[in-house]
Amino acid sequence: MNDLRDLYQEVILDHSRNPRNAGRLEEPSGTAKGHNPLCGDLITLDVLVEDGTIRDVSFDARGCAISVATASIMSDMLKGRSLAEAHDLFQRFQDMLTGPTAAAEGLDKLEVLAGVREFPMRVKCATLPFHTLRAALDNESGTVQTE
């Protein structure tokens, strides 16, 4: 139960029920869809990048608490960051969930998702928004899949 309380913290429940930046951008510079076939999580994410800086992020997500909360917190944190910073954030986030030490350095609000590490079956739920973000930044066509 303690691990579960770490996983489903109040902040995560709040973000999953009231996701920030929900919706679509009118003129995104990049868009991508992400899909986790295992549980059916589906996210469509828009980004607006100007001069190498992320100006805006918006998403439509239908999925579990973990994936929606990650998308919500992630989108809040990305605005005003450079592309390099966004990639660095993804790397740190992945390290926190699957790396050898669980270091949460520089992750700021995303640190609330550290509990996912104890639930390996759920890591893909948390990383799906980031995979989708990366595809949107590259403006790849098609759908990113976690499987």
Binding site: L4, R5, Y8, L13, C39, G63, C64, R122
Partner: protein
Amino acid sequence: MNAPAGQNPEVLSARADFPLLARPMHGRPLAFLDSAASAQKPHVVLDSLRDFYESEYANVHRGVYLLSAQATDRYEAARETVQRFLNASRSEEIVFTRGATEAINLVAESLGRSGRFEPGDEVVLTVLEHHSNIVPWQLMRDATGVRIRAAADAAGNVDVDAVFREVSDRTRLIAFSHVSNTTGTVLPAREICRRARERGILTLVDGCQAVPHAAVDVQDLACDFYTFSGHKLYGPSGIGALFGRHDLLASLPPWQGGGSMIEEVTFERTTYAPPPARYEAGTPNIAGAVGLAAAIDYVRGFGSEAIRRHEDAVLKYGVDRLDAVDEVRLIGTPAERAGSISFVVDGVHPHDVGTVLDTEGVAVRVGHHCAQPAMRHFGVPATIRASLGIYTHVADFDALADGLGKVRELFRL
């Protein structure tokens, strides 16, 4: 809640036959409610595999030596066990496959090559089908130009009328699940097959979720093809069986080529063996067939009536417990149910429910259950499915209900 009547003490004791069920999960007793995905294995099946490999194993239909002859006898005896289990009229009507998925691919592929289907002909499925009873027909459609139609009434139930509303003069085949793997709905297989036969329409019945729960008689059903997977019937994985009407199996072309399925091979031309060998290219899953026969003997030892009574009582208890949870919404309203209950918890995604239940020792399946069209039909992205087997007790559903209490607490419902 009190345990319901109808539980047969002999069936209740079956649990002790399954060693894995004694394994604690997250420090709690395991409540295994995912038998519809794959069932656990009793000692007699595990022993049959070990004994066969230790004392009787060799390739089949090959050697002149005693071992090979004995292994062949065991393999063919397993075929006869399946024949009796399905009440097929002869053992040549039973083809061993990897499972039901392979069996349906076999039928779709062989029918597709047979010249029996012309562009514009129709195959009728139902919205409740598992992907394994959809995609093989789409592959056949791409090769033959047939059209696919899907039957259901507005509530998502599939009765005879719903099926025959989709049937036209161009319908050549109806393929459907005997029991839905998602909602546990029992389809009126006998009525569908008999009406289809009157109209000269072939039928294939996917019996994966039916054979663990009820006796099946393919002659009484009047189906043309029937299939099931061994691993859902307490047998090993990688083995299953296809029943096919003998005149069909004897006239359809093979779907895979290789050893065992031939009469004579030259570089110009090959003639094929009669069924069932025609459809069993290569060395088969010999020990799997032996293990499957052991599983069938095990189930028949209880008798399908006793199993059905026990499971119906446990299932009814499960439905009642789930119904008593405010936020739980059952998916599908079958008039007759076997094996499975699908539900959602309003306000919590099934995947999150599954994770919480897992930490409580309750193993359920969450997701789309390889039936995405059914999910779309019911308007949900995914469900939680609790499914039972011969070893399931009401206590497993108590654990599920308690686990859902934890879900409500954590998510503040």
